[in-house]
């Protein structure tokens, strides 16, 4: 049997998306930039002209040129190749953190909305987590398990949980108040069935929009932790770590720091613009 469709039907959202997208030039440009970066990151092993880890001490700190499009770093490694691989890792860290934190937060938030008895407890825990800036989790996790890619993912995931929980709880409360949820209860659906089949799918657009907006911040934070030396450790190419490696000879070869930093900027800016666009189309309420 089918219950009445929820408030945000995918078909309606898709048509709104088409209508808006044709006129929103920044969003189109952002999508193009992201598509290009995704292409570069996915096919990095085939596209990279050099081995990103290969050290060539006779060619250190070369400025950008025809042989090395983005120049070489302090150990003569090709920056363009490292940027392609770095894009891969930096975005992966962002995605992983958002996916893990988003999933746990969504589960916690929707359970809090569904079971009023657990609401107080769950949301108080979230309030405690929310009282810290994400970068502080980065410091704490790095202090506990040591600096590395994993500690950045854990820290960013933890800092995403309370935010996702709040958004999910808010969205779930609206859905739970709908008649079709009451109808579902009457026909004898289990709690789990209601939550998974009806509540969650109807909250999804709100949560996805929020997570897209959060992705840019997560990437920026991952890069910042990398820059501080608390993230991915060299020689593994990660954009923030790469930027940090150029700091010592910044005055002689600024491109070693500036190029990875600009790539991070472009990636985050495109993600933010696209997130704003998705929010306006899919969930205008979040704009308030």
């Amino acid at each position: 049997m089918t219950l009445a469709p929820g408030p945000a039907s995918p078909r309606r959202a898709l048509s709104r998306f088409r209508r808006h997208f044709g006129t929103d030039y920044p969003a189109m440009l952002a999508l193009a930039v992201l598509a290009l970066m995704a292409f570069g990151a996915i096919f990095a092993p085939w596209l990279a002209p050099y081995d990103p880890l290969h050290i060539e001490l006779t060619r250190i700190m070369q400025p950008p040129g025809s042989m090395h499009w983005f120049g070489t770093d302090g150990q003569g490694r090709d920056i363009f190749s490292r940027v392609l691989f770095g894009l891969r890792l930096t975005s992966l860290i962002g995605f992983a953190a958002i996916a893990i934190g988003g999933a746990i937060g969504t589960a916690a938030g929707s359970i809090a909305a569904f079971y009023p008895r657990l609401d107080g407890l769950i949301m108080r825990v979230m309030d405690v987590l929310l009282s810290f800036p994400a970068i502080l989790f980065g410091l704490a996790v790095a202090a506990i398990i040591g600096a590395g890619t994993l500690s950045v993912v854990i820290a960013l995931a933890i800092s995403t949980i309370p935010l996702a929980a709040r958004i999910a709880r808010g969205a779930a409360l609206t859905v739970i108040a709908q008649d079709y949820i009451a109808a579902g209860r009457v026909v004898g659906l289990t709690d789990a069935g209601l939550l998974l089949r009806y509540v969650l799918p109807n909250c999804l657009s709100t949560i996805v929009v929020f997570l897209t907006l959060r992705l840019g911040q997560a990437i920026l934070l991952a890069a910042s932790l990398g820059f501080l030396g608390l993230g991915t450790q060299p020689p593994t190419p990660e954009l923030g770590t790469m930027a940090a490696q150029g700091v010592n000879f910044f005055f002689f070869a600024p491109h070693v720091t500036i190029i990875p930093s600009l790539v991070i900027f472009a990636l985050v800016l495109a993600t933010n613009i696209l997130g704003d666009f998705l929010r306006d189309v899919l969930d205008p309420r979040l704009a308030a």
Partner: protein, 313 residues
């Protein structure tokens, strides 16, 4: 107001407890043994065992936690494993340096952000509005280290207008101020984007309200309408965001201080983590977290003063 203040302080207790628990966990979750680090690489097992019992590491966990809370409340955060200095002393010095930086940043960045937001709102849809909004989106997408390194390159290295490493003394001295300018600009640029954006949104909302229409109908000058009637109302949500952002400035200060070698608590924390100096790392993280909580409380109280409706709730 007193009731609200007490309520707000009570709400902070579980959060502070959480901070202390995390701080305690820091010491206990690390794979390395503090006693072994303190004893040094050549120490015998007996010496390590003796240091373990001196440090209370052989007691049950709950007892260690209570002792830890007690010593934190007394302001005793242990000594650095690297240079044996008192953590509390190092923290108080570096915390002041961080606050100094944040204060200087706020002095110029808050008025600037509000001004930009108001200008964008009044010229809604115009070129100025679009420029400011684009700038704000770009601002929140810029890595702090890119801003910092760019400032350092242009004003420190190329033009040689300002010094760019370390602290030159107290802010009221010329040298102290000169040293603080570049880091405070770096910090402020992270701060302006979100605040300008919310000021614009909030102004647009208020400018559409009934009392503004009435003011216009009365024939008041536009400057009086914007300055006296709209801005004051629009500032309420802006205050909340500024408060939250000040908290995040503590986080942003970590990157800024590292770039400009500013001797603040953020740089202390990063240095301690890299050097495996747990007591200092733990103390700095707790200090940053408590600072963040304190700022949030102050902002909430300020918010209640600005908007009496909050207290009534």
């Amino acid at each position: 107001m007193l009731k609200y203040t007490v309520q707000r302080l009570l709400l902070a207790i579980p959060v502070v407890f959480g901070v202390l628990l995390i701080g305690f966990a820091l010491l206990n979750l690390v794979p390395s043994d503090p006693a072994t680090i303190r004893a040094g690489p050549t120490a015998s097992a007996d010496v390590i065992a003796q240091i373990r019992s001196e440090m209370g590491l052989d007691r049950p966990l709950w007892e260690q936690f209570l002792r830890y809370v007690g010593s934190v409340l007394r302001g005793d955060l242990g000594t650095s494993l690297v240079n044996n200095m008192s953590v509390a002393e190092e923290l108080s010095r570096s915390f002041l340096a961080t606050l100094e930086l944040i204060a200087l940043c706020l002095i110029w960045a808050v008025p600037m952000a509000i001004l930009l937001g108001v200008v964008a709102a009044i010229s809604r849809g115009g070129i100025l509005d679009r420029l400011i909004i684009s700038g704000a989106v770009a601002g929140i997408s810029l890595p702090a280290f890119l801003i910092g390194m760019a400032l350092l390159w242009v004003f420190g290295f190329k033009l040689q207008w300002l010094p760019f490493t370390g602290r030159g003394g107290p802010l009221w001295t010329v040298d102290g101020l000169r040293h603080a300018i570049l880091p405070s600009i770096c910090l402020g640029l992270i701060f302006i984007g979100p605040v300008a954006r919310i000021t614009r949104t909030s102004m647009l909302e208020v400018l559409g309200a009934d009392h503004i229409r009435t003011a216009r109908a009365k024939g008041l000058a536009e400057s009086v309408i914007v300055g006296r009637h709209a801005l004051r109302n629009a500032l309420i949500p802006v205050t909340t965001l500024i408060g939250l952002q000040i908290g995040y400035l503590l986080g942003g200060a970590i990157v800024t201080e590292t770039i400009f070698s500013w001797p603040g608590v953020g740089r202390l924390a990063v240095g301690a983590i890299v050097a495996n100096d747990l007591p200092v790392a733990q103390g700095a993280i707790i200090a940053l977290a408590l600072g963040f909580i304190a700022i949030n409380i102050i902002v909430d109280l300020l918010y209640a003063v600005l908007d009496p409706r909050i207290q009534a709730r």
